[in-house]
Amino acid sequence: MDSIFDIFLLEAVINGLLLGGLLALLSLGLNLIFGVIDVVWICYAELIMIGMYTIWWLHVPQGVTLWLAFPAAVLLVAVLGLALHYFVIRPVLAAEPINQLLVTGGVLFFLQALATVIFGIDFRNLGVRLPGFSVGDMYFSSSRLLAFGVAVAAIGATWWFLRKTFTGVAIRAISQDRSIMPLMGVNPNRIYLVTSAIGGGLAGLAACLLVLQYDVHPAIGLSFGPLTFLICVMGGLGNLIGGFVAAFVFAQFISVGGFLFQLEWGYVIAFAFFIAVMFWRPQGIFARSSR
């Protein structure tokens, strides 16, 4: 019995690793926005939901090929991110920080209800199922592997962009000191807009990967939204590497905890662990030393 148990545990660990890649991508955009603009988009998961609906609507009722539907969704959510910053966040940038959190909560309600009005409360799916594959006695889904690969690539690309391009360097500079940068000839408002568009684009990319694995419905954001915030907070809000590591830690809790007990208990353990970590390191495990 022991050997079977072990191989299934290994399967859970590897599935956790694959899930970790997806969670890392989910939290990447949110984390970037927090690091640069200092605002938590509570409605981030709802932007992903809109992206998933866009792909479904283009592919299923409209018959557009997925190769066009995916970029269209990424573009649309990037524009949404831009609009969100321009119309909703900008007016409250000078207000108390908690108002910025709350205003995006209003957007959460709005987007969720709007999706209900437009698409109804039915669960929708693409009807596309990628084949699974097995290694020895272990079974894996290839959409998870794909998601993992794309997530790692996207994180690498974001990393390269932030390190090697002028705009990327300006974004990092703004996140380190927002008052001095205007003196260096960088327009913070433009940087904020670019960051919001990138954050939205990353949400759109996450939507492409999620829609291959899960059915979309208006409340889907609530099922992974909280997890996304907690990953960012645990990694230290705005710390991209911390968020990346935290995503894998969370994924292992969910996957192995869910394997040993029940799926919900996996989540309960992950959330309880989060609360405990917050008491130990209130600014996240990998808190930036400058703060």
């Binding site: 909560g105 709005f110 209800a113 609530l222 915030f229």
Partner: protein, 337 residues
């Protein structure tokens, strides 16, 4: 209660504003007390009861929310209250009165542990909001995971405790007559307002105000920050748990998504903010406003379009937070002053 607010300026006597105001309030309250006897029908009465219960719950949230402690975790306390009472009754036949006590005590315990740790380690602002959000998800997921007892996502109905032909059972806290529920809800709502007033009159009120403006400065003049914040948190959590009890007993059905988790926690936050969390009747105005909005839209566009009311509500919330962060009542009162 928007009707009452509108009545204030008209009835106010400039020479003796305090006394006339009090008379107006008493008159409105008396009128309200007679409401079930004015033949308003079962459905409107149901709406009023629901509005009163939510008003009380939003008020419970705002007791601490107005002091800069924006909790996204009050769904946890409501869920603990609601499920304690139903589970103890269904599984062990324990009267809901004891169930309510258990629920309130349990949520006080949770609030004590989480609150103490948060305040001790200076978790404030976004971080406090997100830690409490995790708490409300933990409670929701535990309820779902214990599906052998709680019925999981399908929810659970309290066992009927009324004898044949009886309309009320005090022992089972079950009443088939809406009029009884109206008075219970009204009483609890008034109790919520009284508790708010008592908290305002308490010596720690000024300390809390100072803390909400600048924690470090407050600590530097000798205010015991963690201790003071914990007191108001316990009050708010206990009140919310009792709101959960009331909701479960009146609706006669609880579901993890309608009494706990992020959705319900956000509903409390935004209900209170829409009405105005800094004034005592603000959360009540928020609850009435949301109900009036959804009912008006339901009548105007019918039942088949799901989500239109929440779309309008969401859009209004965004506008409120941007243009009038003090909420409906808060802005009205400010303009008058």
């Amino acid at each position: 209660m928007s009707r009452q607010v509108a009545a204030l300026p008209a009835g106010a006597d400039p020479r003796r504003p305090g006394r006339t105001l009090k008379n107006v309030w008493l008159a409105v309250l008396l009128l309200f007390l007679l409401l079930p006897w004015l033949g308003i029908g079962q459905y409107p009465l149901h709406l009023i009861i629901i509005a009163l219960i939510w008003s009380y719950i939003y008020t419970s949230w705002a007791v601490m929310g107005r002091l800069g402690m924006v909790s996204f975790g009050h769904g946890a306390f409501m869920g603990i209250g609601a499920y304690s009472v139903v589970l103890l009754w269904n599984l062990h036949g324990i009267t809901p009165w004891l169930g309510a006590l258990t629920g309130v005590l349990l949520s006080l315990l949770v609030a004590l542990v989480i609150g103490y740790a948060c305040f001790r380690f200076r978790i404030i602002g976004h971080y406090f909001a997100l830690v409490t959000l995790a708490l409300s998800e933990v409670v929701r997921l535990v309820i779902i995971a214990l599906r052998d007892y709680t019925g999981g996502s399908l929810g659970i109905t309290p066992k009927p405790g009324l004898a044949d032909g009886a309309t009320a059972s005090l022992y089972a806290m079950q009443f088939s007559d809406r009029t009884v529920w109206f008075y219970i809800a009204l009483g609890v709502w008034l109790l919520g307002l009284v508790l708010w007033k008592l908290a305002d009159d308490h010596p720690s009120r000024r300390a809390l105000q100072a803390i909400s403006e600048d924690e470090d400065a407050a600590a530097s003049i000798g205010i015991p920050v963690a201790h003071t914040k914990l007191g108001i948190t316990l009050l708010s959590a206990g009140m919310t748990a009792f709101g959960g009890v009331l909701y479960a007993q009146y609706q006669f059905y609880v579901n993890p998504d309608t009494v706990s988790g992020i959705a319900i926690s956000l509903q409390m936050v935004f209900g209170a903010i829409a009405g105005g969390m800094f004034v005592r009747l603000g959360p009540t105005v928020g609850a009435m406003f949301l109900l009036a909005l959804s009912e008006t839209l339901r009548v105007l566009i019918g039942n088949e379009h799901h989500g239109v009311d929440m779309t309008v509500y969401g859009a209004l919330l965004i506008l409120f937070i941007i243009f009038m962060p003090r909420g409906i009542l808060g802005t009205l009162l400010q303009r008058r002053a």
